[in-house]
Amino acid sequence: MTQASIRRNGVETRYPPDPLGSPMWTYHAKTVFGEDRVSFDPRVKLSMPDLAENQHCFPVALDAREIGDVRRMVIMADLNPIPLAVDYRPLAGAPYLATRIKLDQRTPVRGAVQRADGSWLVHGGWMDAAGGGCSAPPASRVKGDWAQHLGEMRGAAWPTGPDGTARTRILIRHPMDTGFVPGIPTYNIETLSLTSSTGTVLGEMDIWASVSEDPAFTIMPRAGMGERLAIAARDSNGRDYHASLIVGGGL
């Protein structure tokens, strides 16, 4: 295999050959990584089940705690019509992100993390999936009750121990419409942020409609026992959602 090479704004950029052999690797690499340095690295732990039981709700966890100085974490699926799912900046805390995405067909699923020096480390694998994860209506649209529950948020935060982070889980009721279902335009959560009680932004993320209906996120911001965390999210209609939870607050 030869190294893929592209010319952009007159500058030649090289990406390493894709171990997954994805037909979209160079295309997506240009969009996501631009001219940054990129390498494949198994320390970027992208975990997923061995099978996609539900192509509408496929769990993915990206753990870059072995790498340390991580400033961005991206989860993407090359052959999805909306390839990006989440772009997370763990501003204070451990670089860990878990969520659930839609799979529209068999595709590489990747995690990419950017270090403080601007370089990217990438890892992932192929996942087989039945078609239509992005083009079937969400369950709440079929049931018709999505508007009654829109923006309901559930969550909790568990202190994780010596590193001073709290495992924080956030779930939001939202149809996350992809725009590929006839008659239903794109409608999705676009941003989410987590703020400490002193007003420090601990983490923020951009979110695409390839994230599953009723998005769920697990992150590990720096937060101590008893601390109150504020969550703010906004969707593509400009609607704001707010929640707050206390670390170790119990279930």
Partner: protein, 318 residues
């Protein structure tokens, strides 16, 4: 990564696609080997795997019962071709035509072979027929995607006879029909009174982890208790080997779903995400059940979002 034809195809997407898409060779015929388990009863053992091209979808156990009135089948396999082969094998074995085919529940590995039989001899519970009419086309699409040529000619067929009574007599050989639920909304179990053989459908998994895509675990427990009280001798599970004790498959299925229920609840309470929950340690005493990791990960997908919605507190401020 395992290299498969799909991988190759996916890699070709960007290149001019000259190879025909359906290049996978026509499947050989199914090998159907009935094993005698009681007087006039044979079991055809399915592969202890998920539905995959390599097994042609033949993963469910099928039962053949010889009666004075003709041959009775419990379940029909995954495809028309399987059903046709099954009919031939069963009729050669007993020397009598198939007069009844029971479909134990809606899942495609049990009921998509019924196209090989006249609809009026195919019987199922009302809830099974309703489930097949609702989900059958979706199941069929999935089966074609996974099995390709094995499925050739298979159309969605529905049982033509709704089970109303609780027994059927075939020239003196009486079969008790138990309308239960839990693995799905309607699960049929059949008890052959003459031999004391229980045919449990997918209420029973033996040395094989239970599958839960349509399960209600509380009802499943009730159904297992009902089966446990039957006083039968041997049991034919829906998946896994014949259970000569008649009790072991019941105990194993119960142990797995009890563990699953507790483990998933604790995982949600402990803050695990779905990927982590699918990787949790399976207890030592359940590791003898085949496909344990596979079924656990499927079960996480089936139950986790529902458990989160039940167990995690509301935190929104409106």
């Amino acid at each position: 990564m395992r290299v498969s034809r799909r991988t190759t195809l996916a890699g070709l997407v960007a290149a001019p696609l000259v190879a025909p898409v359906m290049s996978r060779a026509a499947a050989p015929d199914y090998t159907i080997t009935p094993t005698p388990v009681a007087d006039g009863i044979w079991m055809i053992t399915g592969a202890d795997e998920g539905i995959a091209f390599d097994n042609g979808g033949a993963i469910a156990n099928i039962t053949v019962i010889a009666t004075p009135a003709g041959t009775v089948l419990v379940d029909s396999g995954p495809s028309l071709r399987y059903g046709q082969r099954l009919k031939h094998v069963a009729e050669s074995l007993t020397g009598r035509s198939v007069v009844r085919v029971y479909v134990t529940h809606l899942h495609p590995d049990h009921g998509m072979g019924i196209g090989a039989f006249a609809p009026e001899i195919v019987a199922a519970l009302p809830g099974t027929i309703a489930g097949m009419s609702r989900d059958g086309q979706g199941f069929s699409d999935q089966m074609y995607r996974l099995l390709g040529d094995w499925m050739r000619g298979t159309d969605l067929a529905l049982p033509g006879k709704t089970i109303g009574g609780d027994e059927e007599d075939f020239g003196g050989r009486r079969l008790r029909l138990l309308a239960l639920s839990g693995h799905s909304a309607a699960d049929l179990a059949v008890l052959d009174e003459q031999s004391g053989t229980l045919i449990g459908g997918d209420l029973l998994f033996h040395d094989r982890a239970p599958a839960t895509p349509t399960a209600d675990l509380a009802r499943w427990r009730q159904s297992l208790a009902a089966l446990d009280a039957l006083g039968h001798k041997g049991a034919i599970p829906g998946h896994g080997p014949y259970d000569g004790t008649g009790r072991q498959a019941i105990a194993q299925t119960r142990a797995w779903i009890d563990w699953l229920d507790t483990a998933l609840t604790e995982a949600v309470r402990g803050g695990m995400d779905m990927v982590e929950a699918g990787r949790m340690v399976i207890p030592e005493q359940l590791r003898n059940m085949a496909s344990g990791r596979y079924e656990l990960q499927r079960s996480v997908s089936h139950f986790y979002p529902m458990l989160e919605a039940k167990l995690l507190p509301r935190v929104d401020q409106s």
